[in-house]
Structures are given as structure tokens and as C-alpha cells.
């Protein structure tokens, strides 16, 4: 680092080296634009096709754009006979209850795992993380008969309890990493200064963990929101959620209605993207946790 480097193009045999380097750079650029193009197309095209389809009245093959536009699909979607509103309400109720329950059971465990060392910690982590790998569907199938006996099938509580199986591990996972990066020293200071436990939580702990907590809650909400087969099972086909209304339309049903229900179904995910976009732009990988929705 003490020697001075010579700027500018070097003469002689170095010319070939710099030319090769330039060719290499051109190759990278080609790869770069191919990658970016594929990313843009694979994100924009699905969105555009859903929007076009939901607002198309007549769309004959091989027209790239619909021949006639219309709101028929949307009119049917918001009509009571489609059961979209009913199922939307159920989906919201179930996802909110699941998030609340995950918050209540997950917060203390996340704090214990994030801030304390204790015997058997790895064992606890093992148990809590098992539903990430072992399918919840199998557990839901096994527990179905017990839920029938307890009268929990076809109830919001019953479905939420089953959604809690995949939701709790992820909530604990996100929050324990939040707590691992959080120093409890300020809490001690506040306590020494005479603040009550509730005030310490409200004014010291909560502001420090709030953004991580928001991500964990959104994440839990989306896990519940996206559940399909466990809801079919425990809901007994009586308690209908949004993906259950969407599903038959995706098979043989009206494609325009399928597109409009899909757009409603994707709305919370879009809201999450908007809410977290500020941290996303900074190259943060906070979204990594959402992968398993």
C-alpha cells in the first residue's frame, strides 16, 4: 500500500490484460441485465395479468389485451352469493386471533431464548422449531378427532389453534432474534429510577422492539391468512375462509372472478410490502422470514 499505483492505461503487454478485463465486465453487464429483466418480468407480468383478467369482459384468443372491459367479475365478487365478504371476515378474524395468541404465548419464550442462557436451551429450540420442517397438516389430521370431541371444529378458535402450529415457531424465531439484539440494561436503569414494570415495558422495552414486533406480527398474520388445507380440515367445510372461496374458481371456474378474488387475497401481502418497504430499500433482508407464507 506504500507504493504509488500508476493511473491511466498501461502500455505494452498490460493492454491485453485490461482488454480481457473489459470483456469480462461486458459479460457481467449482460448477465446483470438478463437477471434484472427476468426479475422485473416475473413480478410485473403476474400482477398485470391478474388486473387485466379481473377487468376484462370479453377477451378472445389471441388478443393480448381484452376486447371489452367490464366490472362484471368485481360485481359478482362483492355480491353475497359469492361468499367473498363472509369468507373475508372469517379470514380476518382467524388471522387476528392467531396473531394475538402467538403474541401471548410467543413473547415470553422469545425473550427467554433471546436473552438468557440456560440448561436445555437447544432442546427447547429443537421442539419449538419442529413445525417448520414437519408438516402441520399431519398434526392437524391427527388432532381433528380430538377437536370434534371438544367442539372446536368449524369454530374460529379451533381453526386459529391449528394455525398456531405453524405460526408460533416463526413468531418465536423472529422475536428471539429481536431480543438477542436488545440490551435489557436500560430496563434495569428505569427500574432503579422507580418506574413500575408496566411503565418500563411501555416506555423502554416496547419502543426498542416495536419494529421487530411489527414484522413478527405481520408475518404471523400472513401465515394464518395463507393457510388452506388445515382450515378445510378443522373448519369442516362450514367455516369458509378466502382461499377456500378462491380455490374452486382456480380450477374450472370463471377466470375473471378467480383473478378478482386473487387480488383481494393478495392485498394484505401488498400492505406488508408497503409497510416494510423502507427497510427493504436499504438492502435489508428483513423479508427473509416471510419466505414460508
Amino acid at each position: 500500500m506504500t507504493s504509488t499505483s500508476t493511473p491511466g492505461p498501461a502500455p505494452g503487454p498490460d493492454q491485453a490484460v485490461s482488454e480481457r478485463r473489459l470483456a469480462g465486465r461486458r459479460q457481467i453487464n449482460w448477465l446483470r441485465w438478463a437477471t434484472v429483466t427476468v426479475i422485473v418480468v416475473s413480478v410485473v407480468l403476474p400482477g398485470v395479468s391478474l388486473l387485466l383478467r379481473s377487468f376484462a369482459f370479453r377477451w378472445h384468443y389471441p388478443d393480448v389485451l381484452p376486447g371489452e372491459w367490464g366490472l362484471d367479475a368485481w360485481a359478482y365478487t362483492i355480491d353475497d352469493t359469492s361468499r367473498v365478504f363472509e369468507s373475508l371476515g372469517n379470514s380476518l378474524r382467524i388471522a387476528l386471533l392467531t396473531t394475538t395468541l402467538a403474541l401471548l404465548v410467543g413473547m415470553p419464550a422469545a425473550r427467554a431464548l433471546g436473552q438468557h442462557q440456560f440448561r436445555g436451551k437447544r432442546m427447547v429450540e429443537w421442539i419449538l422449531m419442529m413445525p417448520i420442517i414437519v408438516p402441520s397438516l399431519v398434526a392437524a389430521m391427527g388432532i381433528h378427532i380430538v377437536f370434534i370431541r371438544l367442539g372446536l371444529t368449524a369454530t374460529v378458535l379451533g381453526v386459529s389453534l391449528v394455525h398456531l402450529i405453524p405460526a408460533t415457531p416463526y413468531f418465536v424465531l423472529v422475536m428471539s432474534s429481536v431480543f438477542a439484539n436488545y440490551s435489557p440494561a436500560l430496563e434495569e436503569t428505569a427500574r432503579t429510577l422507580g418506574a413500575s414494570k408496566i411503565r418500563v415495558f411501555r416506555y423502554v422495552t416496547l419502543p426498542a422492539i416495536s419494529s421487530g414486533l411489527l414484522v413478527a406480527c405481520l408475518f404471523t398474520f400472513l401465515i394464518s391468512w395463507s393457510q388452506y388445507v388445515t382450515t378445510v380440515l378443522i373448519g369442516s367445510g362450514i367455516l369458509i375462509t378466502l382461499p377456500m372461496v378462491l380455490f374452486p374458481f382456480l380450477g374450472q371456474g370463471n377466470a375473471a372472478v378467480a383473478a378478482s378474488i386473487t387480488l383481494i387475497f393478495v392485498a394484505p401481502a401488498v400492505m406488508v410490502l408497503i409497510l416494510t418497504s423502507r427497510s427493504l430499500g436499504r438492502g435489508s433482508t428483513v423479508m427473509g422470514g416471510f419466505g414460508k407464507v
Binding site: L31, R32, T35, V36, I39, V40, L45, P46, S49, L50, L52, R53, Y61, P62, V64, L101, G106, P108, A109, A110, F118, I127, L128, M130, P131, I133, V134, P135, L137, V138, A139, A140, M141, G142, I143, I145, V146, I148, V162, I165, P169, L218, L222, S226, V229, P243, F247, L250, G251, A258, A259, T262, A269, L280, G281, G283, T285, M287, G288, K292
Partner: protein, 294 residues
């Protein structure tokens, strides 16, 4: 503080177990409880259907079924292909996106968009785009590549399950890609620069420096992606063939038959599914320990 702690040792000792109890209760009761109840049913103990005798008959029934091996193979093939292809594309995308260039931040943002989107939405979009009369077929027609819907390759409800794999990969590539990006960011450029100073070519740096650095983290995401794809129900039901189907679909079909007596067979298939993922989990722990020790 120390005095107080010494005065209430029991409370202090109980603090952590008490904090862990609610979450452990949920997992132990609902998840492990469900697995154990399912195991009992698969072994023939199912009083609700009048079955109380323990037997391996349902496992024999399930495995002897010609559909079982075909479904198992289909499930493996889809999960393996999705995991492998997602990793290849994800590593490629991450290596491009870690560089700074005009629009790189926007590209990284767009790359992450599929993450919070439900799989069913991905399936819905795949249908609209890749159906034989879908948008891509129409664009193909406008370019003169396709004359009629029948000319467009049938990749939905096909033997090779391409539609199923596309739906999964749309979500799994960003998932694996973000893990790789995070590793690359935490590693920093110093190893590559060192290799470059020592005269390593671009290819050598990729094969001998970058890939060994990202592999341990990638392996753990493999297990997650594989297990998830392996156990997913709705995508193969929606976009795959009805025969051969995948194990979760087959298990659920048997389970949902109106006669309760066919439930143990469905449950046996489900338990096989769970056992395979438990084996994966054990392999994952081994690999995690191995990669930590090296």
C-alpha cells in the same frame, strides 16, 4: 439486586421455565399431541370408528397401494427439482444483486416481492400466464410463434409437473436468494480480494471462495424448502395431475373419505410423510453441526 436474588432463588429459578411454558404447551399439545394422536390412528386405534386393535395393517395397505410409490416418487421429484433449481437461480441472482449498479436497489426490492405473497396467488398467476390460452400464449401469437392455443406447450396438469414447479420456484428463489444475499453481505469482499491478489481468476474465485462461503447457509435453507415443497397440498392439487399426485394430496384424500374406517390408511400415509421430514430434520441438525465445526 444480588441480595434480592439470593432471597428469592425459587422465583428466579422458575422464571425461565415459566417464560417457556406457554409456547412449549402450544407445540407439545397441539403439534406433538396431534402427531401422537395421528400415530395411534394410523396404528389402528381409532375408537370413533369402532377400531381399538393395534395393527400395522394400515401401513401395509398404504404402501402396497400401487399409487403410493408413484406418489412418493412424484413428491420427491418435485421437491428435489424445486430445491435444486431454486438454489441455482437464487445463487445466480444473489451474485448479481449484491453489486451496486443503477437500479440495483429497485431490482432487490422487486426480487423480494414474492415473499409475503401466498402460494395460492402464485398458482393463480401461473394459470393466467401459462394456460394454453393464457397471456404468454397470446403474446406468442402476437409475435407469430403460436398459431392456436394447442401450439403452446401444455405445462399445467402435465406429467412433468412444470406448472407446479414454476409456482413453487416463484416463491422459493427469492427465499433462498435472500439467505445467500445476507451471507454475502456479512462475509464482505475481503476473501475475494485476497484471492484476486493471489492471482485467482473470476471462475476460481467463484468456485473456491464464494461457493464454499455460502454453502453452509444454503444447505439449511435447502432443508426448509425441500420439507415445505414436500408437504405442500394445494399447489399439486390445483396444478398437477390427479394421478399421479403427491403424498399429502393422497393422504388427505383417503382421510376425507366419508367412511371413517379409511382414515387410518390416510393417517398412515401422513405419518410416513412426517417421518421423512423428521429424518430431514435430523440430517439438517447434523449438517448444521458439521458446517459449524468446519
Amino acid at each position: 439486586m444480588t441480595l434480592e436474588r439470593r432471597q428469592t432463588p425459587l422465583r428466579e429459578r422458575l422464571k425461565i421455565p415459566l417464560m417457556l411454558t406457554p409456547a412449549l404447551a402450544v407445540i407439545l399439545l397441539l403439534f406433538l399431541g396431534g402427531l401422537v394422536a395421528g400415530l395411534m390412528q394410523s396404528l389402528g386405534y381409532f375408537p370413533a370408528a369402532g377400531l381399538t386393535e393395534f395393527t400395522f395393517r394400515h401401513y401395509v395397505d398404504a404402501v402396497a397401494d400401487r399409487n403410493f410409490l408413484v406418489s412418493l416418487w412424484t413428491t420427491f421429484r418435485i421437491a428435489f427439482s424445486v430445491t435444486l433449481l431454486s438454489t441455482v437461480f437464487a445463487v445466480g441472482a444473489a451474485l448479481v444483486l449484491r453489486q451496486r449498479f443503477p437500479g440495483s436497489r429497485l431490482a432487490t426490492f422487486l426480487f423480494q416481492i414474492p415473499l409475503p405473497v401466498p402460494h395460492l396467488v402464485a398458482a393463480s398467476a401461473v394459470i393466467l400466464l401459462f394456460a394454453q390460452s393464457g397471456l404468454l400464449s397470446r403474446i406468442g401469437a402476437a409475435l407469430g410463434l403460436v398459431d392456436a392455443p394447442g401450439d403452446f406447450p401444455a405445462i399445467l396438469y402435465d406429467n412433468a409437473s412444470i406448472g407446479v414447479m414454476l409456482s413453487f420456484m416463484w416463491k422459493e428463489i427469492p427465499f433462498v436468494g435472500l439467505v445467500v444475499l445476507a451471507i454475502l453481505q456479512s462475509v464482505g469482499p475481503q476473501y475475494e480480494e485476497l484471492a484476486q491478489t493471489l492471482g485467482a481468476t473470476k471462475r476460481q474465485r467463484l468456485v473456491h471462495v464464494l461457493l464454499p462461503l455460502i454453502m453452509p447457509g444454503v444447505v439449511s435453507t435447502w432443508i426448509i424448502v425441500f420439507a415445505f415443497t414436500f408437504a405442500n397440498f394445494e399447489i399439486p392439487l390445483l396444478l398437477g395431475r390427479s394421478f399421479p399426485t403427491t403424498l399429502p394430496v393422497q393422504a388427505f384424500r383417503e382421510f376425507q373419505r366419508p367412511e371413517l374406517t379409511s382414515r387410518p390408511k390416510g393417517m398412515a400415509i401422513a405419518i410416513v410423510l412426517a417421518v421423512i421430514t423428521v429424518l430431514l430434520l435430523i440430517a439438517y441438525r447434523r449438517l448444521a453441526r458439521y458446517s459449524r465445526s468446519t
